[in-house]
């Protein structure tokens, strides 16, 4: 693994780099623990003196931040679950079954990889308007459910599973569905976790689509809610409160990260698809 000792210069650079990574996070935390008035014009006050949790109390008091957090969780979990279900089914179809137009369909799916969301987001907005899907959880989830990368990734992974297992299962009298459900799917858990990590973070950090689809504040996801709060900041100089909202919004995802760090790293390793 390691190629010789890291030089002292190497260690110094690492520590400085780590400081640069952590400084903004610590600064935000300190600001969030200060009383708003004290910060007006004197943000350096955050480096010392009385700290208070009043901003956090205010969040739980009557702000919508908790609602935005719930929305984000529902949308991200829903999208992730949906993507796992849909891409596993499609992956099994493309990897294992032969049906008319299979090759052409798969090529069309691959083309989907090259389409950036900007190319479709405006017409999508119009489509969802006709379908009255805006400001709804399905409306926020559906665009994320279309995951060509997910299908490509699942198909490639499933093709790696030895075909004899399917054949053995057929000989064991298993139907196509049982083979998928009891044999192939359990063997794709590593790929599922990789895809789950990508999809969850992608959905959690999505900003463009919720911005134009969730236009009612009780339907905002965290990203849109904090954007509104950030822009509203110009009219209410509650710097401490604003920072508290940022910290409050990042705690859950940090917890998820710390708990699932091993899986995320292993998931990343999984992406090195040949």
């Amino acid at each position: 693994m390691a190629r010789g000792r890291l030089t002292p210069l190497g260690w110094a650079l690492l520590v400085i780099g780590a400081a640069i990574m952590l400084a903004p996070l610590v600064w935000t935390l300190l600001l969030s623990l200060k009383n708003n008035a004290a910060l007006v014009g004197h943000s350096e006050a955050a480096l010392h003196g009385p700290y208070t949790l009043e901003n956090y109390a205010a969040i739980f008091g009557n702000s919508l931040t908790t609602r935005w957090l719930l929305n984000s969780i529902i949308v991200s979990l829903g999208t992730t679950a949906g993507v796992l279900v849909i891409t596993s089914l499609a992956g099994y179809g493309f990897a294992r079954l032969d049906f008319p137009f299979r090759r052409t369909l798969f090529v069309i799916v691959l083309l989907g990889l090259a389409v950036p969301s900007q190319a479709v987001i405006l017409p999508q907005h119009q489509l969802f308007a006709w379908l009255h899907l805006h400001n709804s959880y399905p409306g926020l989830m559906l665009p994320g459910l279309v995951a060509p990368f997910g299908v490509f990734f699942m198909t490639t992974y499933m093709r790696g599973i030895p075909i004899e297992l399917d054949e053995a299962a057929m000989l064991d009298g298993a139907s196509r569905w049982t083979i998928f459900w009891r044999v192939i799917l359990p063997l794709t858990i590593p790929a599922q976790s990789t895809l789950a990590v990508f999809t969850f973070l992608g959905s959690w950090n999505d900003y463009w689509w919720p911005l134009i689809s969730a236009t009612r504040s009780d339907m905002y996801t965290l990203t849109v809610g904090l954007a509104a709060a950030q822009m509203n900041y110009a009219q209410t100089s509650g710097l401490g409160y604003l920072m508290a909202q940022a910290v409050f919004a990042s705690i859950p995802i940090f917890i998820v990260y710390i708990v699932f760090q091993k899986q995320i790293v292993r998931a990343m390793a999984g992406t090195n698809v040949r």
Binding site: V40, H125, Y137, T215, Q230, N232, A234, T236, S237, L239
Partner: protein, 435 residues
Amino acid sequence: MRPIAAALAALLALGSCARSDDKTHIYLQRFFGECGAEYGGSIDVSKAEGECGIITTLVDRFNAENPDVHVDVNVIAWPGYPQLTAQMAARDPPDLVTMHEGVISDYASKGLVEPVDSYLRAAGISPADFTDAARQGVTMYGHVYGLPWDTHGGLFHVNTALFAKAGLMRGGKPVLPNTWDELFAQARQFEQRTGKPYLIQSNVGDTAYAARNLYTYMMARGAVIFPDPKHIRLNTPIGVEVATYFRRINAEKLGTQNMDTPAAIAAFVNGEGGIYPTGTWMIGSFEAEAETPGRPLYKSYAVFPYPRLWGEHVEYVSGHSWVVPARKRTAQQRAAIARFFKFMAAHNYDWARTGHIPAFKAVLKDPRFKALPHRDDIAPLAEIGRPLPSYVLRQNAIEGIVGEEAVAAFTGQKTIPQALASAERRVDVLLAQVD
């Protein structure tokens, strides 16, 4: 896999539970900021300060006084038109929206907002009750398209303590320039005596600031900014002259450079500059500072309309109003909206405490309004205020473009003719799209 599918089903069910109570819900969308933390629970309007505080308590009070109706508030980032447009495109607009009078025609011309005559009649309000400026702002195509809420425009908020130090006080009133030369002379004198910038400017992220300055001092010389509904004229000798003066202000460092609105507010409140030219909406908050002992502005705050520096004494003003987007509504919702109009009309005085000029004549004559600090100093705004011609559409988008190019001209990021010509071209192209 099975647990994930079950979780998905549960989440969907949980999320989509509609609010089922017997109240009539009307959906109000507004800017003015989100301050639930400070004013969340209270309905005592008199104790609230500033636009955000007053509007939040007003709506909460309306909900308290009308148990059978509930106003759901959606606070959006100023000015909120991209969101409103997205909602209207999605055929799911709110029931009530705060809108600048200049922008109403955009939506009215496409039938996206309803005439409010029926609501006004139900609320017992007649257009005659509005001030001239307010009525002119909301009347178009033969109908009234909104309940006017205020008239607002730029003001010179003055730190009289620093002005005294700079020897620019006479008879208890700050000396304001009447010509551009006086402005530069007084500014230099101010900075020599106090060592602080004469002007605090929010020229970052606040396109309204630069647009307001350009419009006001072009109108003062009688310049016709919009010769017809499809064209704007800025790159004219008058336009160039105005921009040159503001360029000089920045070049000679007579004004702060890199401040956005919160930074400018903080600077003025901490007494780090002579004059902060911002809007009527800040009078309430600055007055509160001026009445708190120990604060730099304590007993040293005055406010006046933009001074006349040349030509006629006029100023670009706008006005906020409540409009009703077009959609199918139940009779109870219509009645609730009418009741909301009645309630807000009755509380226009409270809103005037922010510093805005009230939209109702009655409030202008109300002794309580007159007794409010500085109101006599800013009263002229009601006469000298001029909105842009009502035939001009997309005023908000235009203000964004004009402001962006004006700041570039004022700060020297672009040459003045280049910036003004670019503004003209971009606005003309935008207006050409309006069919």
